[in-house]
């Protein structure tokens, strides 16, 4: 065994150039898988990991401050409760630390019992006087560490620990940074009454029966105002929706990368076997069995694949770990750390196995022929056929490549998938960009809002030049009366709301009377509601209002969990509701100018972000991750092209040598190779475009968001960009391989036959 390994090693060294090329290929593919695995595994397991470590409760209830004893008596009576603890949450608390300050801090005063957060640095609260634990998002954003000082509502506190709680995304993705203080400690100094609570954390005995608990909780909640529930499952659904799109993409990438690996390594092995038919013949002549011969080749492959694969996986994982960890951190999830090693080791096994098989197969096939036949050097290649390609060096290259039908088909299909993925990425990036910056992508047709202004403001706004229309816009958070975990937004304009917000109707019709609602497909899915159903909305006021569903709309905002209604009933349910003013600008009006006009009249406006500012940052991080994947994908495409050309050059060394002997220089060799690469691109590009537009785009759009159709088909500009990029890669590959070819002395290449 050791002897044969040593033999294999010296054979590999004997053809160092080709071994290195194969190793580089394996490493590139492994890098692709490394990135994909790191991001996908992190996202797929991040929430569970964080929830586990943080001991996240199954149910969090928020309400107006109540006596702890009063609330606890009711919670204790609920079915399926394993344990419970209480907090007091104070919002809009000023926080400050060396040079940094915010007035929107959230202070959680925690008492005894389970905490529901994980300490990731330093220590938990001990109950001593001036201790505070800060959330990781705040620690990262402000550069805080245990031992630093933080002013909480003007009281100087000492940071003892950094915590993560996945019940919300992290600051600054969440607008309010969260800190924890002990009720006997800093809480007392801040004047929090330890007898009060506005937040209950509930751990269930059986999470699958949480619904019963919720229904009971609702039933015993009279007298408790503004009750809102957040379930662990509900948090996860929201996070997974965003992560799902990335995971789906990455799985597609990994599959493509594995395809690349199989094809190119198989082809390399085949070329290698062909060059060494004689050796195989001799080995067989010496009495080696077929398995023996194949095993020799397999051993060589493993020797190359293990270090190359490990290196590639390592590099890919390192490349992706940073952006992926940032993504996870912004979601208040934990990066996998050492747990990532297991899936990476799995990848290494897959890669090495694939490489070994791809190498052994052609050797096995060659060895099945009679030794005499092999020694006579019977050609493995198919007979060339006449093909209608242009004459000249460029055309010759196309013919050389086309002569190997099977491999060209494989290369083309892998490159096509790769093209399709890049197109998808471009389409996705454009879409994310629009979601981030263009309100129209959410069906919003107004550009500015005025918040908290008295009724008298409306006519003033309407008179400002550049304003086409303005109307009050009511928005209320609600929970479904039957499924309290399902929350949504009620949005109302007096009269026709489509002048301001017009998500496309996918089913039914628009609202016409006060009792009707158009609901987003996201809400329809969540509630199982259809046209004709009734939705019962539990408002913050504690009252319930009902609407009959007349239409389903493709609304993107709030994950499609919205309902458009008329204000009448909404105001009956919550008379205290104050509207914002939605301001629609005239075509061509400059928002900045209108804003300053309004300000000069004492009216403050806010620009309508497409996505809310918090999801905007999330989209930004998402784009970062996609960018890393895209870069690796481009490298892979370059590698496939280079590898396939290098293989062609390897197999056709005598042909290229004869051309060179006849006076062809590096330019002509490059032309031959460019011809081959262009043929591959010419076949792969249209296939890739079709694949993206017909299959991948729609599939990912479906997977990404089920409540609306995202147009994810690449447009002409993107296609042009991708095809030109591909041609550029082809040219680069041709030049590089031509350089390599030019380095082999012609005399040496000629001797090979």
């Amino acid at each position: 065994m050791i002897a044969s390994a040593r033999g294999a090693w010296s054979r590999l060294r004997g053809r160092r150039g080709r071994s290195l090329l194969a190793a580089a290929g394996i490493a590139a593919v492994a890098a692709m898988m490394g990135t994909a695995t790191t991001v996908a595994y992190g996202l797929a397991t991040g929430f569970d990991r964080a929830a586990e470590r943080a001991d996240l409760p199954d149910l969090i209830a928020r309400f107006e401050p109540e006596q702890v004893d009063e609330v606890d008596a009711r919670v204790e009576a609920l079915p399926n409760v394993a344990s419970r603890s209480y907090r007091q949450e104070a919002t809009e608390v000023p926080l400050a630390s060396a040079g940094q300050a915010t007035s929107s801090g959230a202070v959680h005063v925690v008492g005894d019992g389970r905490r529901g957060y994980a300490i990731v640095a330093g220590d938990d609260l001990s109950g001593a006087g001036d201790e505070v634990v800060v959330e990781r998002g705040l620690a990262d954003a402000w550069g805080l560490a245990p031992g630093d000082r933080l002013s909480v509502a003007g009281v100087d506190a000492r940071i003892v620990g950094v915590a993560v709680a996945p019940d919300n995304v992290a600051f600054p993705l969440a607008s309010a940074p969260r800190v924890y203080v002990a009720s006997q400690g800093l809480g007392a100094q801040l004047g929090a009454d330890p007898g009060l609570t506005n937040m209950a954390l509930i751990w269930s005995q059986d999470p699958s029966r949480l619904d019963t608990t919720l229904v009971q909780a609702r039933a015993v909640s009279f007298g408790i105002d503004n009750l809102r529930f957040l379930t662990r499952a509900g948090v996860q659904v929201q996070l997974d929706e965003a992560a799902g799109i990335v995971i789906a993409l990455l799985i597609a990438f990994s599959a493509a990368a594995l395809g690349v690996a199989g094809v190119t390594l198989g082809a390399t092995a085949r070329a290698e076997v062909q060059r060494r038919l004689e050796t195989i013949g001799v080995m067989r002549g010496l009495g080696f069995s077929r398995i023996g011969v194949a095993a020799q080749y397999g051993l060589e492959a493993v020797i190359v694949a293990v270090p190359a694969g490990a290196l590639g996986l390592g590099v890919g994982a390192l490349l992706a770990y940073g952006p992926s960890a940032r993504l996870l951190e912004s979601l208040n999830e934990l990066p996998p750390g050492a747990a990532l090693l297991a899936p990476l080791a799995g990848c290494l096994l897959v890669i090495v196995g694939l490489v070994a098989l791809a190498t052994m197969w052609p050797a096995w096939r060659a060895a099945s022929r009679r030794p005499a036949e092999i020694l006579r050097g019977a050609e493995l290649t198919a007979r060339p056929r006449r093909l209608p390609y242009p004459a000249g060096f460029f055309g010759l290259g196309a013919r050389l490549v086309a002569a190997r039908v099977g491999r060209t088909a494989a290369t083309v299909s892998v490159l096509a998938v790769s093209t399709a993925l890049v197109l998808l990425m471009l389409a996705l990036a454009t879409r994310l960009d629009a979601l981030q910056n263009d309100p129209a992508s959410l069906g919003k047709r107004y550009q500015l809002t005025v918040n908290g202004a008295p009724d008298s403001t409306l006519p003033v706004v309407r008179d400002v030049p550049g304003v086409a229309a303005a109307a009050p816009r009511y928005e209320a958070s609600a929970a479904d009366s039957f499924q309290l975990g399902e929350t949504f937004k009620l949005i109302a304009f007096p009269g026709d709301h489509t002048e301001y917000e017009s998500p496309p109707v996918t089913e039914g019709r628009r609202v016409q009377t006060a009792g009707e609602a158009e609901i987003g497909a996201g809400l329809a899915n969540a509630l199982g509601a259809r046209r004709g159903s009734t939705i019962a909305a539990q408002l913050g006021s504690g009252r319930e209002v009902r609407f009959r569903v007349v239409g389903i709309v493709a609304a993107l905002g709030n994950e499609g969990r919205v309902a458009y209604v008329r204000p009448t009933r909404l105001l009956e349910g919550d008379p205290g509701l104050t509207p914002a003013i939605a301001v629609r600008l005239s075509p061509g009006a400059d928002p900045a100018q209108v804003t300053s006009e309004l300000r000069s009249r004492g009216i403050d406006t806010a620009a309508v972000g497409a996505a809310t500012s918090s999801s905007r940052e999330f989209l930004g991080v998402l784009a970062d991750v996609l960018r890393v994947v895209a870069i690796v994908n481009i490298l892979i495409a370059l590698f496939i092209l280079t590898q396939s050309l290098a293989l062609t050059a390897l197999e056709r060394r005598p042909t290229l040598a004869v051309l060179r002997a006849g006076g062809a220089g590096r330019r002509e060799v490059a032309l031959v190779l460019a011809g081959g690469a262009t043929l591959v691109v010419a076949l792969a590009a249209p296939a890739g475009v079709v694949l993206e537009r017909a299959v991948l785009g729609p599939a990912v759009a479906d997977m990404a968001v089920d409540y609306v159709t995202l147009p994810l088909s690449a447009d002409v500009g993107q296609i042009t960009f991708a095809v030109l990029g591909l041609l550029l890669l082809a040219l680069t590959a041709a030049l590089w391989v031509a350089r390599q070819v030019g380095r082999t002395p012609i005399a040496v290449a000629l001797r090979e036959e």
């Binding site: 010759l396 002997a661 006849g662 006076g663 062809a664 005399a747």
Partner: protein, 221 residues
């Protein structure tokens, strides 16, 4: 006038203990219109000599002049130019590009020089001269060895080189086909070019103007 002139040509393969001096101060002159056969045992360095003269490899020592250029002073580009304009090569295994027809194989090198259309005319004329008209549109694997080698000769001549180098051109042919090929080479020499041919073939040696023997890295008359 000497088209090829070599003095003290030396070439060693390998290093240290594995080093093998294949050419050891070999001298050779070939003039235009002359056909010279290089004879020698297998492994004596015939191919090596031809490769050096054809600019496919560089000597370790000695001076070498081909068609007026000092090869020891040429850059890589200069070598390419030499191969393109001054040297034609033919091989024992013909080495036609299997994907190209006979005629396309012959025409390929004309793309490397100015005046592609006149080159094409030259290619057609050569094909006719070598009696390949009938089969010019066929792919190499459908041709006989003799036909393939004649296409290879046409390809080597199409850019009108000063020197034609033939490495065992008859090694893979039967006697009849070999005779035809040698007759053509003879005609090339008679047309004013220098022809240098490495061979084991008695017949080849007979038809040449001069035979030099390669032995122990040196050339003897």
């Amino acid at each position: 006038m000497n088209v090829v002139s070599a003095r003290g040509l030396t070439k060693t393969y390998g290093r240290g203990r594995a080093a093998r001096k294949v050419l050891d101060a070999a001298d050779l002159d070939v003039s235009g219109g002359e056909m010279v056969a290089v004879a020698g045992r297998s492994g004596s360095g015939k191919s090596t000599l031809l490769h050096l003269i054809g600019g496919l490899d560089r000597p370790d020592a000695g001076t070498l002049e081909v068609a007026g250029s000092r090869l020891d002073r040429l850059t890589e580009r200069g070598f390419t130019d030499l191969r393109r304009h001054q040297v034609g090569f033919i091989f024992q295994f013909f080495h036609l590009v299997p994907e190209l027809t006979g005629e396309e194989n012959v025409a390929m090198p004309t793309r490397l020089v100015n005046g592609h259309s006149s080159g094409l005319a030259r290619a057609r004329a050569l094909i006719r001269e070598l009696g390949l008209d009938e089969v010019s549109g066929r792919l190499p694997h459908t041709l006989s060895g003799g036909e393939q080698q004649r296409f290879a000769i046409a390809r080597a001549l199409v850019n009108e080189p000063a020197v034609l180098l033939a490495d065992e051109p008859t090694g893979n042919l039967d006697a009849d086909a070999a005779r035809t090929v040698l007759r053509h080479l003879r005609a090339v020499a008679s047309g004013g070019r220098a022809v240098l041919l490495a061979t084991h073939d008695e017949a080849a040696a007979e038809i040449a103007d001069r035979v030099v023997h390669l032995d122990g890295g040196r050339l003897r008359a």
